[in-house]
């Protein structure tokens, strides 16, 4: 008996997490999947109607906007945050004075919820109060910055705020990665006559691959959950021009009494994540196992 326990201890330790995961993640996904096949409105009801909700979803113009926005947001947000984070990390890695202070400044937005900074951002981006007014007050009379109130541009203000919040964290990840690079390697490259740019491009960056991996996983995670960001900054507006799928789902499920439709949008979101993430996770994790 004791032997059995001893032998299976690892499995026993993992068991609670596994059970919780099966119920509270995958169980709930299945629950939502089933719900998306019903005509539930105010509350879950189990009258199945097939793929009706999905048909409604795809016919909804607001959903189109939300999906387009997600692509714009996801791509821009991840690329800008990665590039900015990487460059700040490289610059900060040049034996900078007051590195600690600067690093903290870059990192702090991650510590604050958007419920908190939303109002400040709204002011800064508002043409009548923020940057535009400031520049005009300073004498740049023709200066215009009114993305927040323009239907085509509002989504980019979400990108700005999201990059602000997360790029410092990406910087920290890269900085940590750079500190882990073997100095002998860079010395050797320099002896071979590599310029700084060559050194970073050919030697250091390839070593950063696992950092890219972590950063992309975390940024995707943040992007898909960027719900409070939209809520606090634009409320989805002007009109519903800056809606993201998470906001769409929330509104239709809880405020519009269309739980079935909300569930179908949630499933599409999950499939989307699945389609992007699974191949990536698979290839990355697989390769590492071969190392």
């Amino acid at each position: 008996m004791l032997n059995f326990l001893e032998k299976n201890l690892p499995k026993i330790v993992l068991a609670p997490t596994t059970i919780v995961m099966v119920v509270c993640m995958y169980g709930f996904i299945v629950w939502t999947g089933l719900l998306s096949l019903t005509k539930s409105r105010m509350m879950p009801q189990w009258d199945f109607v097939g793929l009706d909700q999905y048909r409604r979803l795809f016919a909804n113009p607001r959903w189109d906007v939300a999906v387009d926005n997600l692509f714009v947001f996801l791509i821009l947000f991840i690329i800008i945050a990665l590039v900015l984070g990487l460059f700040l990390a490289i610059f900060l890695d040049q034996k900078i004075r007051a590195e600690g202070a600067i690093r903290t400044i870059y990192l702090y937005p991650m510590a604050i919820s958007f419920i908190v900074t939303g109002t400040a951002w709204k002011w800064i981006l508002n043409p009548g109060l923020g940057i535009e007014k400031l520049m005009n007050d300073w004498g740049f009379v023709g200066f215009e910055f009114r993305w927040l109130v323009e239907q085509d541009m509002a989504i980019y203000t979400i990108v700005i705020a999201a990059v602000w919040q997360s790029s410092g964290f990406v910087m920290a990840l890269f900085l940590a990665g750079l500190r882990g690079v073997d100095e002998n390697l860079t010395k050797a490259a320099k002896i071979d006559g590599a310029s700084t740019v060559q050194l970073y491009w050919h030697v250091v960056l390839p070593l950063m691959r696992p950092v890219f991996f972590s950063a992309i996983v975390i940024l995707t995670h943040i992007a898909i959950k960027s719900f409070d960001l939209v809520q606090a900054l634009t409320g989805g507006g002007p009109g519903y021009a800056s809606d993201l799928p998470a906001n769409f789902m929330y509104t239709f499920t809880f405020n519009r009494a269309q739980i079935g439709l909300g569930a179908s949008s949630a499933m599409i979101m999950l499939f989307g994540v699945l389609a992007i993430l699974i191949p990536y996770l698979y290839s990355e994790l697989r390769e590492k196992n071969h190392d």
Binding site: V13, I112, G130, L175, A176, M249, I259, L277, L285
Partner: protein, 289 residues
């Protein structure tokens, strides 16, 4: 020749400093706006410039936000909700970190058939939008008799935090040489003994990273807090949202801003004080994917 090189080098350094300071300025702007606004009176906010320093700084707004601002029909400021948050965050962080440590330990060093799959499944679980699980979780909590209790809210945070804590610990422990485990096994040490005597002493950096991450996530949570708390046990983010949306006789932006900073102080403090260890902890292996 050397002097020329030196200048070139200096220009480069200056450029780097310039860029770094420029971005530092950009990153600080929102906090600066919030902080200076919280020290102004309403008249000054209305008439003045967003970036201007307060003419006559006053802590009126801070006092009010902490002890007497209205959140709905209660007017006790943020103070009571601050402690609610502490009561939720502390147990949730401790439990999810410990569970994550054990999970990570098993997934890194005690692999069994299917454990890799389990890890993948857990990792994917990080990506579920939380809006999806609100209703089924409410039902589950109701069945467990934990609906709208602090315990229920802690449980929810632990459940959805464990995926991340496990990821952190697993990635960190993968970097610890397996030889250490083998040697300890030969010495007759068991599962727990190895964990305690070999892994725990090496784990300080990753504990720091995980605790900071979890603390930030849970302290800043609004969605779970608003849905699963009962009246009287609402966390500070919910109270802040109520406060900002409560206006009795005109909006007091200075109080809103002071309240916002108060709500953010603990996480800010954690980043400022422990930020150094955070980056060190990441360096020590958390980023090795």
């Amino acid at each position: 020749m050397t002097s020329l090189k030196l200048t070139k080098y200096n220009i480069g350094r200056a450029f780097i400093y310039l860029i770094l300071l420029f971005f530092a300025f950009l990153y600080l702007a929102p906090l600066y706006v919030m902080f200076t606004t919280s020290l102004k009176d309403i008249e000054e906010i209305r008439s003045g410039n967003l970036m201007a320093l307060p003419i006559d700084p006053t802590f009126y707004a801070w006092k009010k936000a902490w002890s007497s601002a209205c959140t709905g029909s209660e007017c006790n400021g943020l103070a009571p909700y601050f402690w609610n948050s502490v009561r939720i965050v502390v147990p949730a962080v401790i439990i999810s970190t410990i569970v994550g440590a054990f999970n990570g330990y098993v997934l890194a060093k005690w692999k069994f058939k299917g454990s890799e799959f389990l890890f993948g499944a857990l990792l994917f679980g990080c990506f579920i939008p939380f809006q999806v699980i609100l209703l089924p979780m409410a039902k589950l909590l109701g069945m467990l008799g934990l609906a709208n209790t602090v315990t229920g809210l802690v449980l929810v945070h632990v459940i959805y935090g464990v995926a991340f804590t496990t990821l952190f610990f697993r990635n960190y422990y993968v970097g610890i040489p397996t030889e250490l485990v083998r040697a300890a096994k030969l010495d007759g040490a068991g599962f727990f003994a190895i964990f305690r005597h070999v892994f725990i002493p090496l784990s300080a950096p990753i504990f720091v990273v995980t605790i900071i991450w979890q603390f930030t996530q849970i302290w800043n949570d609004f969605l779970f807090g608003v849905v699963y708390s009962g009246s009287g046990t609402q966390p500070i983010t919910v109270a802040l949202n109520n406060l900002v949306n409560t206006s009795v006789g005109g909006k007091e932006y200075n109080v809103d801003m002071a309240a916002a900073i108060i709500a953010a102080l603990p996480t800010l403090a954690v980043y400022v004080i422990a930020g150094k260890y955070f980056v060190r902890g990441l360096t020590a292996g958390a980023v090795k994917g």
